[in-house]
């Protein structure tokens, strides 16, 4: 009976399993396998290369810069986005006129596809674009934004936060709304001020959605691609050359597919290490 059930279940599962295996798992394995090979003109084909693709990468200054830029970007963008999303979630769950409408305005940009957002912001960041128009009105000097080595990452962070913060805020609002009313009222009766209530009551009770947001946000920011490819091409001087763009560039502009696969493996490994570390940290102080 159980075996028969198994066969029927398998029939229902087969299309999805084939899709998942061929479209997700096989390419992941193939990236690992291919990263140990290289194309040899002399011997006319694919030859086993051991770790040489990896040592080539580690020896390359451009790659090391790309890792450095990616780590710097990760350390900056994730805390900023999570903190802003949390503060906005707290703000928009207060009883105040127009809260629903203002909240909707913050969420709207998540409908815009990332590549379209990048195109929009490419016009905002032009020397004669909206960005400098705003600065001028505030009496501030015009800024170069994307063409400045020191401003390019902050500019990308602003654009990515415009896209992403509303999305992460949704999770946190859902989390805050699940905090029982009695708990909040009890804190109010105990005379806790708003700051105290946020830190000692709300924050610990939304730990789980907060942890999820931090981890998911980190993964998505490690894979940022469209804004770099559309706005900066990794420049100026490699200062926005995030790993995902470097992989693409290596595979398609330089045609170095095997080294690119090695870089994919490193990128995924880096992601896993960072995510595992975050999980540990978040569980550690419970």
């Amino acid at each position: 009976m159980r075996q028969r059930q198994g066969l029927i279940a398998l029939a229902f599962l087969a299309p999805a399993l084939v899709c998942l295996a061929v479209l997700r798992i096989v390419p992941a394995i193939s990236a690992v396998v291919e990263s140990f090979y290289s194309e040899s003109l002399l011997r006319g084909g694919r030859v086993f290369a051991g770790l040489s693709n990896y040592t080539d990468l580690l020896g390359s200054k451009d790659f090391r810069q790309s890792v450095g830029v990616t780590l710097l970007f990760t350390v900056l963008v994730n805390p900023i986005q999570v903190v802003v999303a949390f503060l906005l979630a707290v703000l928009f769950t207060q009883k105040a006129a127009g809260s629903k409408l203002w909240r909707t305005l913050v969420i709207l940009p998540i409908a815009t596809p990332p590549a379209v957002s990048a195109v929009i912001w490419s016009v905002i960041y032009r020397p004669d674009g909206l960005g400098n128009g705003v600065l001028e009105r505030l009496g501030l000097p015009a800024q170069p934004f994307l063409t400045s080595s020191s401003q390019v990452l902050p500019s990308l962070i602003v654009l990515l936060s415009w896209i992403g913060v509303g999305y992460w805020m949704l999770f946190l609002i859902a989390g805050i709304q699940e905090v029982p009313v009695e708990v909040r009222e009890a804190a109010l009766l105990d005379g806790a001020g708003p700051w105290r209530r946020m830190v000692s009551v709300t924050l610990p009770l939304v730990r789980r959605p907060l942890a999820f947001v931090l981890v998911a946000d980190t993964v998505s920011n490690l894979l940022v691609f469209a804004p770099v490819q559309i706005l900066t091409k990794g420049g100026p001087n490699g200062n926005s050359n995030l790993l995902m763009y470097d992989v693409y560039n290596r595979a398609y502009a330089l045609g170095d597919i095997h080294v690119a696969q090695a870089e994919v493996v490193i990128l995924v490994a880096l992601t896993l290490v960072i995510v595992a570390g975050q999980f540990r940290l978040l569980r550690g102080d419970q």
């Binding site: 399993l17 997700r24 193939s30 291919e34 207060q94 596809p113 590549a115 195109v119 004669d128 674009g129």
Partner: protein, 271 residues
């Protein structure tokens, strides 16, 4: 007093987030040559008193217009096929007890832990070998096997009482009948949530369409728009109109199914 200041703060934040979109809409309603005419910030930067739909009519006959139709076609196909594939799989996982169920479930979870964009480049090499570049099949395929959608549907299916299934079986329904006539009708909210997930995955995709669909017949909206922007003599009116259309379509879909959208978003993170 406190409420007034909270409301004012919320208003300022909301409007700051909204300004770029308002600016895009305004500029889509004026000739591209005037995009940078209101450089000195004034109310005219964000409002157009003599709006024209010229950019939108130009969009219809442009590459971006055609690419948008491609995006609609590819996304619709992804939702239909994807839901069929994911719902049957979720049924297989939820309704049967069999050896290796844990293993299969593990594969499903593993498949959505590997971020798709990270494997897009190795996968595109495989698709090139299979000659699926510049085909709709190649564009649609990666969207249909969505582990997260399977996971969501399975969670929902697990809540369907076994007595209903037994009653259906006694009435002579086959297993496919149970799936079609008991599970599916009871699962509309979960199916809509999963459908939204499949739709947004495909509509927002950029890396994959850039790698796989590059000829005029198969290019998708976001890729076409970014190509347009890359040209030196870009007509910004057209760029803005394209950006509006590519944003409004998902916005309408999300707004229409708002309840299910929030449900599917929050259940991925919290439960």
């Amino acid at each position: 007093m406190k409420r007034v200041s909270l409301s004012a703060l919320g208003g300022v934040v909301g409007i700051l987030f909204f300004l770029p979109l308002l600016w895009v809409v305004t500029n889509s309603l004026r000739p591209g040559s005037e995009t940078f005419a209101h450089l000195k910030l004034s109310w005219q930067t964000f409002f157009e008193l003599r709006p024209t739909l010229h950019n939108y009519s130009a969009l219809l006959s442009s590459d971006v217009g055609r690419a948008t139709l491609n995006s609609i076609f590819v996304s619709a196909l992804t939702v239909i096929i994807g839901l069929a594939v994911c719902a049957t799989a979720a049924f297989g996982l939820a309704a049967f007890e069999f050896r290796g169920r844990g293993l299969v479930f593990g594969i499903v979870v593993l498949s959505f832990l590997v971020p798709f964009d990270a494997i897009a480049i190795p996968l595109s090499t495989m698709f090139r070998d299979w000659q699926l570049t510049n085909t709709f099949t190649g564009l649609v395929l990666p969207g249909i096997g969505n582990g997260m959608a399977i996971f969501l549907l399975r969670q929902f299916f697990l809540g369907i009482p076994a007595e209903l299934v037994e009653a259906g079986r006694l009435d002579g329904l086959g297993w496919f009948g149970v799936f079609r006539w008991i599970y599916l009708p009871l699962s509309k909210p979960a199916l809509i949530g999963a459908g939204l997930m499949l739709f947004l995955f495909q509509w927002q995709a950029y890396v994959w369409p850039l790698l796989i669909g590059t000829d005029a017949k198969h290019i998708l909206g976001p890729v076409a728009l970014s190509n347009l922007q890359g040209q030196n003599f870009a007509d910004y009116g057209l760029v803005f109109a394209g950006a509006v259309v590519l944003t409004v379509i998902p916005l309408v879909v999300i707004a229409g199914f708002q309840r299910y959208f929030v449900q599917s978003v929050s259940s991925t993170g919290l439960k």
